[in-house]
Each structure stands twice: as structure tokens, then as C-alpha cells.
């Protein structure tokens, strides 16, 4: 056995040829997602952004799914070693490994979605989704008959919690006595779990539902669809098509647009390391309403939402972290 093992290793050493120097000068963009790009939400949006970078900017792109910290750091390092210009790490969890890897690869720009700290070549991409969920929340506060609203989260992640805070504060701005409920599924995959969570809330009197649970949220829409009088609000993308008569509005994070903006700066050489923060003002975060249901809005609501939007953009209305339900 031992001799065979030695032979095997010898083969490996011979095979370890000089593979690395494949340096290229063209701008190349890579995306690392922490989940499947078929989730119709968070990762799908990023992948769409990557394709737009390829199609409209003509850059060469690559993507990989890396679920664990070990795989994530490996992927960051591999792309950097291959000379990619920009590497998107699509989630807060890429912050620490990106900082570690960035020291060794000063020529690669690491973009961390939902990150927090900026370094010479590490750039956090911050989405102030709560600015949009605030507006969605206002709608829910106005539309609710029962005075109860609910939120289904995939996991208790910062952007998800913040989105929840905006949703509750928006609702309270319209209807101060509103009661809110929240459930975390601990999964982004299990649509049946999302549905049961939503149904449990509906039984408790909730008639306005919002989510941030990616693929598992499909269950939330399914629950709303079959429960008369329940309305639902999309997250991340414009999700009206999932239930055209039930989706009042969506809090949209236009990930493709944000990715495109960053990539364009890099291509044009105008990129400078800073916290790339997107809110309502940028157009990356926005409220997408369902025109078919606008007729059912209470009178004057449209004006109030517009005013709130202006205040948020102007900085006079701030959404605070940490809402008690």
C-alpha cells in the first residue's frame, strides 16, 4: 500500500505544473454567491447583475456558489490569483475573509455586499433596503383591517432585521396601534416552512405579510393567495407577478443596477474605494407598486408615501435599528 501511495504522490508532484501565470489585462468580474443562483431573489439578483455586466459592458465574467466560510475564502483567493479585477462576495459573511485575502492581492477589488468596513481594495456595498420597507410598511399600515402585520425572515441577518425594522416603523407611522409579528425560518430553501409560518400568522389575525426569505418566501405568497383578504408585499425584486391580485407593492433592491454601477466605474477607471451605499435616492432601492391595486389605496396615502420618500432622501426621516415587535 505504502509504495502505491508514494507513487500517487509522485504523480501529483509531477502534475503540479506551473499553471498560475495566465495574467490578462482585460477587466474581468467574478461573483461568489452564498447560495444557489436559482433562488429567485438574493442570489438570482446578483447573478442577473453579473450577466448584465457581461452583456452591456462586454466584460468577461465568472461565478461560483460557495456556501461555507472555507469555500468562500478559497473562492476569493482563487479568483484573485487568476487576476480577476473585481470580485463580488455576495453577503456580509465575505467581509472578514475578503479583508484577509485583500492584503495579498492589492490589484483586485473585493466588493462585499452588505459589508461594513472599507479598505484600500475592499468595498462594502450597502443596501438601505429599510428605506423601501418603510414605504411598504406604510402601505401595509394603511391597508390592514385587523391592525396586525407579519414578517417572515429566512435568518436573522442584519439587512433582514433592518428591513423588518423599516417595515414596522412605516406601518406605525400610518397606524400607531399596529401589531407586528415576525418568524424566522432558519432556512432560505424550505418553501413549505415559509407557507406554514405565514398561515400561522394569518390565523393570528395578520392580513398584511412581508418577507425576506428568498426561495422559502414563495410559500408566503402561496399562503396569501389562498387566504381571502390577505395582502402580501414583495422583497428584493418586484414580485407582483407571483400573485397579481394580492401583491400590493415590493421593496425592490435593484442588485443588477448596483453591480452594473460598480463595474462601470471600474471599467472607466473612475472607481475609488468607499462605502457604496445605495438608498432610495440612487434608484437601486425603490418602491414598486402594483398599479392594478392602486385604486384600493386609502385617499391621500399616495401623497403621504411620496412625502415620506422625499424626507428619507433628504435625510430628515431616519429609520432606527432595533424595533420591538
Amino acid at each position: 500500500m505504502r509504495t502505491r501511495t508514494v507513487v500517487l504522490f509522485a504523480c501529483l508532484l509531477v502534475a503540479c505544473s506551473k499553471a498560475a501565470d495566465r495574467g490578462q489585462t482585460a477587466v474581468r468580474v467574478a461573483l461568489i454567491t452564498p447560495g444557489s443562483i436559482t433562488d429567485a431573489a438574493w442570489n438570482a439578483g446578483a447573478y442577473k447583475g453579473l450577466r448584465q455586466i457581461r452583456d452591456s459592458l462586454g466584460l468577461s465574467v465568472s461565478n461560483i456558489e460557495a456556501r461555507t466560510p472555507a469555500e468562500q475564502e478559497e473562492a476569493l483567493r482563487s479568483y484573485a490569483r487568476q487576476g480577476y479585477t473585481v470580485v463580488f462576495g455576495h453577503g456580509y459573511e465575505f467581509q472578514d475573509p475578503a479583508e484577509r485575502v485583500a492584503q495579498d492581492f492589492p490589484n483586485t477589488i473585493f466588493v462585499v455586499t452588505s459589508g461594513e468596513r472599507v479598505r484600500s481594495n475592499v468595498v462594502p456595498l450597502v443596501f438601505r433596503i429599510h428605506e423601501a420597507t418603510y414605504l411598504v410598511g406604510m402601505l401595509a399600515g394603511a391597508m390592514t383591517h385587523t391592525g396586525k402585520i407579519g414578517f417572515v425572515g429566512g435568518m436573522e441577518l442584519p439587512p433582514i432585521k433592518l428591513g423588518y425594522d423599516g417595515w414596522v416603523q412605516g406601518a406605525k407611522a400610518v397606524r400607531p396601534d399596529v401589531q407586528s409579528r415576525v418568524t424566522y425560518l432558519n432556512t432560505f430553501d424550505d418553501a413549505a416552512a415559509g407557507k406554514e409560518a405565514a398561515l400561522a400568522m394569518i390565523r393570528l389575525g395578520v392580513d398584511q405579510l412581508h418577507h425576506n426569505a428568498d426561495a422559502a418566501a414563495l410559500g408566503v405568497f402561496s399562503a396569501a393567495k389562498e387566504s381571502p383578504g390577505v395582502q402580501v408585499y414583495g422583497a428584493n425584486g418586484d414580485q407582483v407577478s407571483l400573485a397579481p391580485d394580492r401583491v400590493v407593492a415590493s421593496a425592490v433592491v435593484d442588485l443588477p443596477r448596483a453591480f452594473l454601477l460598480v463595474a462601470r466605474d471600474v471599467k472607466q477607471g473612475t472607481f475609488t474605494p468607499r462605502v457604496e451605499s445605495f438608498g432610495l435616492a440612487s434608484g437601486v432601492i425603490r418602491l414598486a407598486t402594483n398599479p392594478a391595486l392602486e385604486a384600493s389605496w386609502p385617499a391621500g396615502l399616495k401623497g403621504r408615501i411620496q412625502a415620506a420618500r422625499d424626507s428619507i432622501v433628504a435625510g430628515t426621516l431616519k429609520i432606527t435599528e432595533g424595533t420591538t415587535p
Binding site: 436559482t38 433562488d39 438570482a44 415576525v182 430553501d189 413549505a192 400561522a200 390565523r203 393570528l204
Partner: protein, 304 residues
């Protein structure tokens, strides 16, 4: 829970959540009664979910149900070839098949629906209230305003009990599971009997997966079964390898799951992870206390 309709809603949710578990567990009961433990039913269930979704996407609900069942059957066939035909270790063959099906359904889903996923494009079964029965107090809304697949499950429980304990085939299945050598000496074709029982289990798991898609969420997502097949295996032990016991255990498990959503939504300071772990902890405790030394079929897991 002061709300008067809440107990009913909770019980109805327990039945709904318990349905796919019961479907898979009843099939697995027959499989285990024949002496085969199939950890691949998690994979068969996932395949059933995919088959159900793809079938319904292309041909409507009925096609979905059939396609889901057939998909589970195909996975079980693969398992039977490994575990019965080749006499491979059942636990490991089942684990491997689940692993492979997880990958395969992910790949196939991308082929069918592209990277955008299935969305909510699939038809689903509405609740079919059963005339007369649905009017019964409590029982009616809990048990008889469910999807047709839940009713299928109601039929399957006594049918399986009858099959196992009142038919020639059931006798042969039980004999194969107790002692394959003695069964063979009595003229039972043990391999064929076990294969049949395994295929039945696979078809049930496929149907369970399809019910998850077609009676519950109306979509397919990668890894959407989330370990329900494994839970079904625990349920078989909890139900002491008897269809009625398994039905009750499924209901208890469905109840524990439904309860955790109600607890969470009701707002508590207890970490939500405790609720998520609750059904599993409950199953462990029940295995220790309720099942005890009841070991199930004597020949379980032993190749013939």
C-alpha cells in the same frame, strides 16, 4: 391562544404539515416491515417534489401526482438495485442516493425552469371540503377541509394496515422482515417481496414530495424537503412499525412543527432556534421513552 378558532387552525395545520410526513412514513413502514431500511427516501421525496413540479408544470395536477410518484419509484428502484440486488449496506446506499438526488434535482430544475426557478407557476390542489363530514364540530374543519392528497393519506393508512396484517402479501412482507431465511424456506421470494415493499415505499415518498409541492407550496426549490424524509424514518420507529401508530406519530410531529410557528409568531423572548429544534428533540425523547426496547422487525437492515 385565547382565540377560539386557534385550536382548530392549529390542529388543521398539524394535519397539513403531517401529511407529507405520514405519506412517506407509511411507505417506509412497509419497506422496513420487509426488512429494508431506506435512508434514500429523503432523496425519493425530493425527487417526488421535483417530479410533481415538473409534471404539473407541463401537464397539470394529475400529471404532477403521477410524475411525482414515478420519480420516487425510480429513486427506490435504484436503491433496490443497490441494497437488495447487490446486497450493499442499506444505510450507506440510502445516504448516497439522497446525496445524489439532491444534486440531480438541482441540476434538472435549472434545465426545466432556468435560473429564475419555478416561481408560483404551478397549479395546486385547493382544499376539498368533504360534504357532511366537514360540518362535524372540530373534527370537520381539522380533518375534512384538506387537500385530496391528505384524503389519499387517510385511505392509505387503513389500506396499508390491511395489506400488512390481512393479506397474503402482507404476511410475506412481515415474514421477510423477521427472518429472510425462514421466509425463503417457506417459499417466499424474499428478494422480490423486499423489492416490492421498497418500491411501494419509494412511490409513497414520491407522492409525499409531490404533495409538498402540489398541495402545499406550489413551487419547487432546491433542497426543499429539508430532511423530512429522515424525520419520516424516525416516525416509523415512533409509530412502532404500525400504520396507525405511524399516522399518530406523524400527527404529533406535524403538531410540534405547527406549534413552533404559532409560538414564534406570537412573539416570545425564547430564541427561535429552540422552536426549530423542538420537533427533533421531541422525536429523540419519544424514541427513548415510547419506543424503548421495541426493536421493530428482527431482520431490519440485514441483506438476504
Amino acid at each position: 391562544m385565547s382565540d377560539p378558532i386557534l385550536p382548530v387552525a392549529f390542529a388543521a395545520a398539524a394535519v397539513r404539515v403531517g401529511t407529507p410526513l405520514a405519506l412517506a412514513a407509511i411507505g417506509e413502514t412497509v419497506t422496513e416491515k420487509s426488512g429494508v431500511i431506506n435512508l434514500g427516501i429523503e432523496g425519493a421525496m425530493l425527487a417526488g417534489a421535483f417530479g410533481g413540479a415538473a409534471g404539473a408544470f407541463h401537464g397539470g395536477l394529475a400529471v404532477g401526482v403521477v410524475a411525482g410518484t414515478v420519480a420516487g419509484l425510480i429513486v427506490a428502484t435504484l436503491f433496490a438495485i443497490m441494497a437488495i440486488g447487490a446486497r450493499a449496506d442499506q444505510v450507506i446506499a440510502g445516504t448516497a442516493i439522497t446525496l445524489g438526488v439532491t444534486g440531480l434535482t438541482g441540476l434538472l430544475a435549472q434545465q426545466v425552469w432556468g435560473s429564475a426557478g419555478a416561481g408560483l407557476s404551478l397549479p395546486t390542489f385547493p382544499a376539498w371540503p368533504l360534504p357532511v363530514l366537514e360540518a362535524a364540530p372540530f373534527i370537520g374543519p381539522v380533518f375534512f377541509r384538506q387537500s385530496p392528497l391528505t384524503y389519499a393519506c387517510y385511505l392509505l393508512i387503513p389500506a396499508t394496515a390491511w395489506l400488512l396484517f390481512h393479506t397474503r402479501l402482507g404476511l410475506e412482507i412481515r415474514a421477510s422482515g423477521e427472518s429472510s431465511a425462514s421466509a425463503a424456506a417457506a417459499g417466499v421470494a424474499v428478494g422480490r417481496t423486499r423489492t416490492l415493499a421498497t418500491l411501494f415505499g419509494g412511490a409513497c415518498a414520491g407522492l409525499a414530495g409531490a404533495s409538498l409541492v402540489l398541495a402545499q407550496v406550489g413551487t419547487f426549490t432546491e433542497r426543499m424537503t429539508g430532511g423530512r424524509g429522515f424525520i419520516a424514518i424516525a416516525i416509523v420507529a415512533l409509530g412502532r412499525w404500525h400504520p396507525w401508530g405511524v399516522a399518530i406519530a406523524s400527527l404529533v410531529f406535524g403538531g410540534a412543527t405547527a406549534l413552533q410557528y404559532i409560538f414564534q409568531a406570537s412573539g416570545t423572548v425564547i430564541p427561535y432556534q429552540l422552536f426549530i429544534a423542538m420537533p427533533y428533540l421531541l422525536a429523540l425523547a419519544a424514541l427513548g421513552v415510547a419506543v424503548g426496547r421495541h426493536r421493530g422487525p428482527a431482520g431490519l437492515g440485514r441483506p438476504h
